[in-house]
Symmetry: C2
């Protein structure tokens, strides 16, 4: 099932008020780690899957990319991208990433920020991305951590007074759909084990170059709730090279 | 701190009654996955770190290894190894793995089963193992999963009636010592993030070949509590090649 939650006006409006929406990359808690594992963009052909507002597309262009194709299932998100992050070297296309098709070796770099957990069939996607990449090309993505997606609700476990006790993990090996609460809205996401993420890469000709579970950045520690993010891993960042 | 818990008579006696102690490899829930990621042992020089009863040492010899050095901090464990799993091609040595030293390129394969979570400084150990391995050699190990070690107690979270609610994760990014309860005894283990495990390998010249969070084997599903192991990842198996 390909849900287009970001086209839901209420969800879209709430998302637009997040720090990562208003401030762009610098407002994203994982950006300080994600940018460290990005490859050299100079003269590169880049594909950004689930590009949203297009922040990473513009970043790639500013780092010297020859051309960036940003794709997203939500035209509402792309309309913002075309306003906020337009550039003559960026093309935005409204399409679900599962429906994309390209000739072999079309890209040097494939990016994806926090979008793969909306995709049901990860292995097929990796197989296809591997074919779209040139030999030696890079896939760099962030995804919600399996610890974060396993239980489903993505919420802490609290005591009666509402204090956080810990983060619950359950049903870890039962992969598939979860109904998560994000911005007080129900959003469909897909839980996968770490094993599935890594093996889909290894089996499709990738070498793992970096794997990072980003800690909250020191300068955001004064944001309420950010310190709690030291207690659980929420995201997984991976850089892999097609060998 | 190098704890020698397996030399504690009470703990040693309890451990000796576990299925993995009585039945050997076939009694270990992760063996069906671990053996799949082992390299070819023929004519190889093998080192087994924290070899315990020596089951993996004997397996390596039976698979054709030229010589196996099995090391363990506990002489009690090694006394059993010398009785149960002796072979002219196996040498057992009583020493903490942190105190070992070998010339560069001494081994083709380094193994370790469920012992690295007793080691405080993982990065230094990986650096040293990398130097002991020949180019192209393999390090294959199992370790308790970061999800399993994070909270500390390694127990489920229960309701008032004693039913399992979920598995708790907390203090994930705070690495270091944990006092776990294992066989009703307090045992010191070290929690590390997945990031630390993977980066220590990548930064010391290893390529990740396999990463598996083993599910309980189908034929053990009738053992009480084994089905619950579908709810949390307890172990992490990694095969890495020195490049």
């Amino acid at each position: 099932m390909k849900e287009n939650k970001y086209n839901d006006q209420l969800f879209f409006d709430k998302y637009s008020k997040m720090a990562r929406s208003e401030k762009g990359l610098e407002g994203a808690g994982e950006w300080h780690e994600f940018k460290k594992i990005l490859p050299d963009f100079k003269e590169k052909q880049v594909l950004d899957l689930g590009c949203g507002y297009g922040w990473h597309c513009l970043y790639a262009v500013r780092q010297g990319a020859a051309h960036v194709l940003g794709t997203d299932i939500s035209d509402k998100m792309l309309n913002v991208a075309k306003t906020k992050n337009a550039d003559e070297k960026i093309e935005y296309r409204c399409i679900a990433m599962e429906d994309l098709d390209f000739p072999d070796a079309s890209f040097d770099i494939v990016l994806s920020s926090l979008a793969f957990h909306y995709v049901e069939d990860f292995n097929t996607l990796m197989k296809r991305i591997s074919s779209w990449l040139k030999k030696g090309g890079y896939l760099v993505f962030s995804v919600e951590h399996p610890v974060f997606t396993a239980y489903g609700s993505q919420d802490w476990y609290y005591d009666k007074e509402g204090n956080i006790l810990h983060f619950p993990v359950d049903n870890y090996y039962y992969e598939g759909q979860r109904k998560a609460i994000f911005l007080d809205e129900e959003v469909i996401k897909y839980h996968r084990t770490l094993t599935t993420y890594i093996n889909a890469l290894l089996e499709n000709g990738f070498t793992i170059k970096h794997l990072v579970e980003p800690e909250p950045p020191q300068e955001m520690m004064d944001i309420p709730s950010m310190k709690d993010e030291m207690r659980r891993p929420m995201m997984l960042l991976i850089s892999a090279q097609k060998s």
